[in-house]
């Protein structure tokens, strides 16, 4: 079982906290909105992912389970 981050682009207003907290998977576009790398997240990085998700003021991020066939961890 592994996970990836999913963003709700309607809820997101570009607070940019997520990219600071989880640069391993989240970068910003030229306007400050998150670009998510949806490579499955290794177990040792899950804590960082959860911190980024919890920090989002508009609750635009969530963790999604990746089905076994494209899991890489």
């Amino acid at each position: 079982m592994s996970h990836r981050i999913v963003v709700d682009p309607i809820a997101c207003v570009g607070h940019r906290l997520c990219a600071d907290l989880f640069p391993e998977r989240i970068t910003l576009d030229d306007w400050g909105y998150p670009i998510i790398d949806n490579t499955p997240i290794r177990r040792d990085l899950l804590g960082h992912a959860r911190r980024a998700i919890d920090a989002c003021p508009t609750l635009a991020l969530r963790l999604e389970k990746v089905v076994a066939r494209d899991a890489r961890t």
């Binding site: 682009p9 309607i10 997101c12 570009g14 576009d29 306007w31 400050g32 909105y33």
Partner: protein
Amino acid sequence: MKLSVPDPTPTRGAPTGIRRLLALAVGSTATPLEQHRAHYAAPRQHGRHDALIALVEKSGLRGRGGAAFPTGTKMRAVASGRRPPIVVVNGTEGEPLSKKDATLLCLQPHLVLDGAALAAHALGATEIIVCVDREQPGAIASVAHAIAERQRSDPQTTVSVSVLSTPPRYVVGEETALVHWINGGEAKPTRTPPRPFERGVRGRPTLVDNVETLAHLAQIAAYGDSWFRSLGTASEPGTALLSLSGALAKPAVYEAPIGYRLATLIDLAEPLHGVGAVLVGGYFGSWLEPPAAAAVRLCNEELRPIGGGLGCGAVAVLPADACGVMESARILAWMAAQTAGQCGACVNGLAAISTTYAKLAHGQAKPSDIALLHRWAMQVDGRGACKFPDGAIRFLRSALRVFGDDLERHARGRACFGTRVPPMLPVPPIRGGWR
């Protein structure tokens, strides 16, 4: 001795030419119900509950609103819900180059309503909502008249049919936006899941199908899946309505089998000057260079590998002396203004792209800024809640591919005679709100 392939059994009464949906269309008035019924039996329960769904699946019919999603699959998904579904007929047609849905509603409203009624019967739905752009009074009047005709002829009907007129915005046709608007909200896309097949109008499973799709469905029910498949390609069977515009003596809605040669179609519409670039798939489709346009067949199998798509079947022909850069600049500005304003990448990205493209077109930006357009195309693609920004990026990329050298010349301030040619492609003013 000459070998001949035996003729497939002709289906009684079925149109035999390449005009199928428009076979009964005469002049510019709607085929009356009585005349329509001489060719099409009144919709009724199609055998077993899901016999029609199975037939549509077998026919290979794909949605004609632009996404080409298999209609049978969508119906099956709606049917799997627990609550009674609702059928929405999508005639919003926000694409400025497309005229086919309004044409079909004006000429063959009963074929569309038959399709909707058949789908409703198959799904156990008792409510049909026909949605038409507020700015298409002719189509609205035609549908309203057709509904009244049907009520007179069958006062016992258990399926209610109503017409709603939608705000003149491009994204209202996106199915989550349409459902949200019907439910009383703004005509803007919503987060998915849930998709309308799960939770749509009033929380019910909702089938949202394009006007043309439902007309094909009615013909499949009447004449069978092998008749339907006898035109078109294996993966995209049937005919399609194609809205032709631009530098043509006979701009109109044509009907042709999917896979028809684009060049043949353009010849039918009689090009006025030398044919330049051709825009296939509407404003969210792709420009094709003249050699590609001369060779390609109108099907996704051939268009997708060259970065295009059939979309809603709109085709616009630029004359050889027009300026593709200026045309593209105007269209990009229209696109940026059509955003629902919800997703950061769409709002900011399309604004940045259209502004920079216009500056380049007017020689007010450095040629090196073209690289920014490529960068932003990468950043915006796939980042909206709906596919609207992806379509805009597909158009941008095709403009960069086909008119890339011209854009660079514009940026260097070289004279372009095309800038003096009046705009060819329509860019409707943005008006009206979201309700």
